[in-house]
Structures are given as C-alpha cells and as structure tokens.
Symmetry: C3
Subunit: 345 residues, 3 copies
C-alpha cells in the first residue's frame, strides 16, 4: 500500500495534506472511501469535496480552509488516470503458448508470449515479444504483430497487415477486409476492384470491439501512432488517421479520408470519400464531413462550423415561430399596401 | 394439431367461430392458408379479412357478418406472438457438452447443457442449467451465465461479467471490452483510464448480433431485466438501461447514459455522455439525445420534442419557399418605403 | 508479362500507342512507373497525363499530341478494374479440407475445397465446389453454400440459410440471427415473435465485415443477385434488396424494407419499416428513408429529394442571416406602420 507522498510523485501532483496517508485504491467520487484516491474535476464535485470520504482527492487548485488531503495537478483527469494505473494495473505475466496453436510455416515468435487456446496463424507471420492473443484470433499470412500487443477474442486479421507494438485490438474487430470499390459493367453488374494494399496499425493504437478497417486499394490504410478508436467504427480503404487522434463509436470514414493529428471525432460521424481533415480538428457527433476541414476547426451538422451550426440549429427549432412572424408581417404589409392604395385613390 | 378453442385459451383470445377447427401453423396474412392462424392488425388487412384463406384470424374486434373464424384479443399482435410460440417453439433438448470444451480451473457447470464444439471458458466461471453455448463462444474468467441462457456463435465475453437467466446473446457480440476513456498527457499522447468495472446483463435480456457493450470504469454497465437490443448497438461504459427498454439497430449510447424503463429507442440514435432518459420515453430514428429527457417524452432531431421537430422539419423542407416569401416582402416593403418617402417629398 | 495489345483486348479498350509495351502491374496514378498501367479518370489527372511514368494510361478519350500509350475506354474505371483483375488476380488453388473440420451428419461437400482449420458445420448442410471457408466459420444446420463462395474468418451463419455461388462474406458477419420483433404484454414485458423465415443470399453478392443480416419472420430476408454490402450494415428481417444494388457502411435497413435494382445507397442511411425503394434510386449519406421512394429518385435528409434538400441545407446554414433579415423587416414595417399612423393623426 503506497503512501500518499509516493503516489503524488508517481502521478506528478503537488500534495497538500498528510504524506503518510495509506492509499490502496482509486474510486469514483461517489463511491470513494477510506484508503481511496478520487477525482473532483467537474465544478459541482469541487463544491462537494467535504462530503467525500476519500483519503485523497485530485483537484486542479487548492481550496481555502480544506481539511482534506488534496493532490493538485494541472490536468486532474490525467493525474487520476495515472493513479488508477499505479494502483490497479496488473503486471504482465506470460501465460505461454497453448498446445493447440495452429501456425503456418515460416512464422516466427518472440519470447514471453500469452497465446491462448484456439488461435490460428498463417505462414510467414512475425509475432513480437510478450504478445497476448486471445481465443478465436485468426491472423493471415505475412502479418506482423509488434511486442506487447494484445489481440482480444475472435479478432480477424487478413493477410499482409502490420500491427505495431503495444497495440490493443478489442474483440470481434476485422482488420484488412477488401475495400468497398465497385464499378458497373455494360449490363449494370457491379465489378469489384481488387485490393492490393495493406493495413498498417502503428504503435500504441487501440481499436475497439467489432470495428472494420479495410485494406488499401494500391496503397495502405494507415492508423498512425497512438490513434484510439471506439467500437463499431468503419475505416474505409486508403484512409490515413493521424497521430493521437481519437474517434468515438459508430463513426464511418469513407475510402481515402485523411485526418490529421490530435483530432477528436465524436460518434456516428460520417465522411465523404477523399476528404482531408486537418490537425487538431473536433467533429461533433452525427456530423457529416462533406469537404476538407482546416486545422483546428470545430465541425458539426453537414460540414458547418460548430458556431454557425449552433445558431442554425437553434433557429431550426424555432422555425415555426419564424414562419409565424413572416406570416404576420405579410399580413401587416398587405394591410399597409392596401391602406397606401386607398390613400392614393 | 390443436383445436382452435385450445389455441384461443392459450393465447388469451375470445373465439368467434368453430372451436373444432384444426390449427397447425402461424403464417403471415399474405401467405396463410388452410390450417393456419394469422394476424390482421393493420387497418388495410382488417378490410381484407374475407380474402384470407387462413383457418383463423386474430383481430382486435369482431366484424359484422364475417363468416371467418376470428380470435378477438385486446392486443392482437401479442396474441399472435403467443400463437407462434404455441405452434412453433421447439422444446429445449440438452445436446450435452462437446468433448473439446476448454474450461479453466474452478469453473462450475449446471445440468442439461448444450455446449457445442469449440467453446472456450476461463477459470472460476459459473454456468447455470440448460445453458446453450454455440461454437466459437469465448467466456472470460469469473463470469457467470444464468440458466436457460443462449449464447450464439463467436460471442466474446470478457472477464468478470454477469449474464442473467434466459438471456439470449446473438452471434458476434462483444461484452465487457474496455470503455473508451482517454486523456491527453503533456505531449498530447492519449493516456488510457483503466476500466475496473463489469457488465451486468440481467434476466430476460436479448442482445442482437455484433453489438459492443463496454465494461464500467469503476461501477458497472447494466442492462436491466428484459432489455432488448437489436444488432450493431454500442453501449458505452457505465450505461444503465432500464427494464423492458427496446433499442433498434446502430444506436450508440455514450458513456454514462442512463435510460429508464419501457423506453422505445429507434435506430441510429446517439446520446451525449451522462444524459439521463426518463421512463417510457420514445426516441425517433437518427435523433441525437443532447440533454436529459423527462419521463414519457417523444424526442426527435437534436433533442427536440417530436411535435416541435415535425413542424421544424416540414418548414425545413419548405425553406426555399420561406426565403422567397421573405425576399418578396423585402421588395414590397422597400417599394412602400420609397413611396412613403416620395409622398413626404 | 502481357503485351499492351493483349491487355487492351482483355479489358475492352482501344489502344493508342505501342502494342508491344510490357505491362506487369496496375498501380494508382501517383505511384505508377515503368511497366505499370494506371487510370486517369478524374479531370485533374487527365491534365497531368504527361507527368505519369506509367507505361499505359486508361482514359475516356484520346488526348491531342500525347506521346503516352493510351487505352481508351467508355468506362475507364471499369477497364481499370478489369486490368487489375487481369494482372493481379490469384488463380484459385484448392487447399483441401483441414483435418479438424467438424461437420454434422448428412452434410455433403463438393470438390476442390479450401476449408481451413477450426471450421464448424452443422447437419444436412450442402457445400458446393471450390468453396473457401476460413478459420472460425460456423455454419448452422440445413444451410447451403454455393460453388466458389468465400466465407472469411469468424463468420456466423445460423441454420437454414442459403448462400449462393461466388458469394463473398467478409469476416465477423452474422447471417440469420432473429429479427427484432417484440410486443409488450399486459405487464409491459417484451414478448418475442419467433422467427421462422430464412436468409437467402443470391449468387454474386458480396457482404462486408461485421454486418448483421437477420432472418425473416415468416418469409425470407433476400439479397438478390449481385448485391454488394460494405461493412457494419444492418439488414432487418424480411428485407429484400434488389439486384446489383450497392450499400455503403453503417447503413441500417429496418424490417421489411424493399429496395429495387441498381440502387446506390450511401453510408449511415436509415430506413423506416416496410418502406419500398424503387429501381435505380440513389440515397445520400446519413439520409432517413421515411416513406416510399419512386424509381430513379435521389433522396437526402429526411426523405427529401436531393435537389430540394440541397436548397434547404444551404438556407439552413444561412438561417441566422434569414432571421436577421426578418428582424430588420419587422422594424422597418413597424416604423412605416407608425409613420402611417402618425400621418393619419
């Protein structure tokens, strides 16, 4: 059980209070009790610090006359993430390689692996050190999986894909299926364009459950270092998502979409083919990205700027009132017009 | 083959007609013939009762001078659901446990199981009686699966999740992946918040194919008794969906969404984080739930009331006409203004 | 390595240039070099033909004074699809049947199969010739899979479904789960309507990764010949999608939706139950199909015609300006009204 002073150092926070307090768990504000560290980041929680039974509370600034142990951090949520990690992360222990592993010829394995039962690997695959593969994982020919990667149950990775180090892929996700490119022939039948490209998932990416990331047509579909995808996300052929970009559930990137670094893309967003989204862009939930987006923009609705969309959306809700005012005005003007005519007569 | 009188009793309907008619199947209105019971619930079908070749028709009220066998029920669709069940449900027969079952130490099994080939179960799991597990199912350590539950092919359940009795989980669904919570560090890299919570699926829930239900951060993600989810649904960490609530396909619940009892949530709906939806709420397809929703509301668009949204949407379609009227009015007023000015001169 | 004249004949293009040029690869415009054929279909690329280092370029019309080898085709993209196929398609070679295949009694197999490890097939199934089944595939009782079909990893097919010849099903997809039909009983609990229908996937369909195609209630859910689905698509019970129709990712078809032939349905589209979409209809991304759609229409927004929606959407973006003009007009009219009143006094 670490002392509070140690925890403060580990998470990069300044301690106001008892350096010798014992801390054994991280817990939510509502449930934290004796021995717990918790977070009060939202303003309503900061006002309720005295109610908490936690042994230490992470905040952004010291509170006057507060009798509690406080951990002051520039980013309290980041400090809390590190506290959870420090107190609860389970150290990796290799479980070994299950006896029923099926792997093709030429496949090479690193050391200290955790390969569960019922894993199927193709030929000429390279598996790094300390890789965890859960049951039902299928990895195609000539793939590579970097060290410390974790691939959860029933994930399917097609041939010739590269998965970086420390990548986490959640259950049911499919990497490397063919992109969706068809062209009608003379009879109107859809002819498939073969996909010769690959999927490259760079280091430190995390991909949620039941996503689908298609391989490129000629070039590759790329998730750059540190991209984080939520569940049920579609990444079309030849997309290129920039470093540290995060994407929420049920978003769909059409083929050839490029997104910059450190974007925040909310849920159920859709993009048109071949649009380019700049660095540091925020896209609001359910938005449609219909054209290129400059660096730092905030986008909502059908490719509008967020501020403009907010105003449009408020007026949309008030359209009945606007229409009524227009109608009244038409009547008034009509009356004035007639009056003016009457005057003329 | 049951007699019509028996069927009437089983489904709670009042019989007008021949109690001794033989009924062997339930069929749709268009396809029903001799020996079938069918449903005429929609008004257009009620007018076509005489066309039907069914041996019995479930309706909500008797029809004057109707020569057909009628089953009168307060909720004809409910009566029909029970008729289908009575005539077509296949009685559960245990298939036993496949020889290739992999299960960890401490895992306990109930009786009369149907565990198909290629099922993988972790340690200290509890499997109830008459549970059906299809091929490719993976269940993590310390989970429990209640009696009479059915888990379809290639479902992945992470560690420490609880599945209630009579729960049905369709193929490809993922239960218990980590919630999507990241916070940027000093270099802009996304740091993961570890997820220590669980997923609890209470009794009588049904979950569609290829859904993703994330585990909670500290507390649990909960589907309460009788929740029914369609396919491809995202349930974020720490969501809590109330009893008997039904949700259509491709809907996404952001982390911390709470929904009440008996809600009807249509397809492709999205919710903001931490919104609370009351009891008996209806959400129209593709709506965004941006703020809390009181009991009994009907919501559409971006968190609007349905009636208001309908009016806004009609006016939205007519915006070109509205704009033209505004333009005309501007011209008229301009003319009147000039005329007034001319008068003054 | 084929000569250019042969390739021209294979893909149905007219050759302007050296019939003896060697062509070994198809590549994108940006990356093509010596020995490659490429495509210049977009107008910006046609202007840059002289920059290309490709040995042949597929275009729609000859260019004056162009020193390059040109392949002229009515549909350049179609010709390019055929060129990729001609140069890169890997000829099918049967891999045989893995020793660990599990198949129920009465199941029959064609010849020249490629059944990978860890495939599980029920009883009385019919598997055609040259079928490829990847690891983790599960096929239920009484299904059929046509000749030359390819079913990728971890696909789940429930009982009594028919998969046509040359069908491709990408990884993680679920075929034949129960439709989503519930009706509340007297206590508000949701009662399931049993689903007795099937899923029929006709010849030459391709289905993306992690889709969910539900079985019919009484009748069948049908994908007609040549339907192409992208990833993460929901097809509800009793849907009927017409020949050669293509559908982009994350679209959801509610139960009973009918779509005609040669429709182009973009991503994240949703349909209401029982709507009928005509032949040759185009639906824009994120649209809601709320009512029947006539042949040849283009639909966007909430069931609007595309042209009308475009105008509405432009005016929606300009609603703040429209509201300001209305406000100004109200003031002006008010002033005129007062002035008129003053005149009268």
């Amino acid at each position: 059980m670490p002392k509070l002073a140690e925890l403060a150092e580990t998470i990069g926070a300044e301690l106001f209070g008892d350096p010798n307090a014992d801390i054994s768990r991280a817990r939510s504000f509502e449930t934290a009790s004796e021995g717990d560290v918790t977070l009060a980041a939202r303003s309503d929680l900061i006002g309720r610090i005295d109610e908490s039974r936690a042994s230490a509370i992470i905040v952004s600034a010291p509170t006057a006359n507060c009798a509690r142990n406080l951990l002051i951090a520039t980013s309290p949520k980041l400090a809390f993430a590190r506290a959870i990690e420090a107190l609860h992360a389970i150290r990796y222990k290799p479980l070994g390689v299950a006896a029923d592993l099926i792997a093709g010829p030429g496949t090479k394995f690193g050391s200290d692996l955790s390969i569960h039962s019922r894993v199927t690997i193709g030929r000429d695959v390279v598996i790094g050190d300390r890789v965890t593969l859960h049951p039902g994982v299928v990895i195609g020919d000539r793939c590579s999986v970097g060290s410390d990667a974790v691939v959860h149950s029933n994930v399917s990775i097609y041939h010739d894909c590269e998965i970086g180090s420390r990548v986490i892929i959640h259950a049911g996700t499919v990497i490397g299926a063919d992109g969706f490119s068809f062209v009608p022939d003379e009879e109107g039948h859809q002819v498939k364009l073969l996909h010769l490209g690959r999927v490259l998932i760079e280091d430190d990416c995390e991909i949620g459950a039941n996503c689908a990331i298609d391989r490129g047509g000629f070039g590759d579909t790329v998730l750059r270092r540190g991209v984080k995808l939520d569940n049920l996300i579609q990444v079309g052929h030849n997309c290129d998502l920039g470093e540290d970009t995060v994407v929420a559930a049920l978003t769909g990137f059409s083929g050839g979409t490029r997104a910059g670094r450190r974007c925040v893309i909310a849920g159920q967003v859709g993009t048109n083919q071949h649009v380019t989204i700049g660095d540091g862009v925020t896209i609001i939930g359910q938005a449609g990205v219909t054209k290129d987006v400059p660096d730092g923009s905030i986008i909502a609705g059908m490719g509008q700027s967020y501020n403009s969309w907010r105003r449009s959306q408020v007026l949309y809700s008030n359209l009945p009132e606007l229409a009524a005012r227009l109608r009244r005005l038409e009547k008034t003007v009509d009356t004035i017009g007639h009056a003016a005519k009457d005057d003329d007569e």
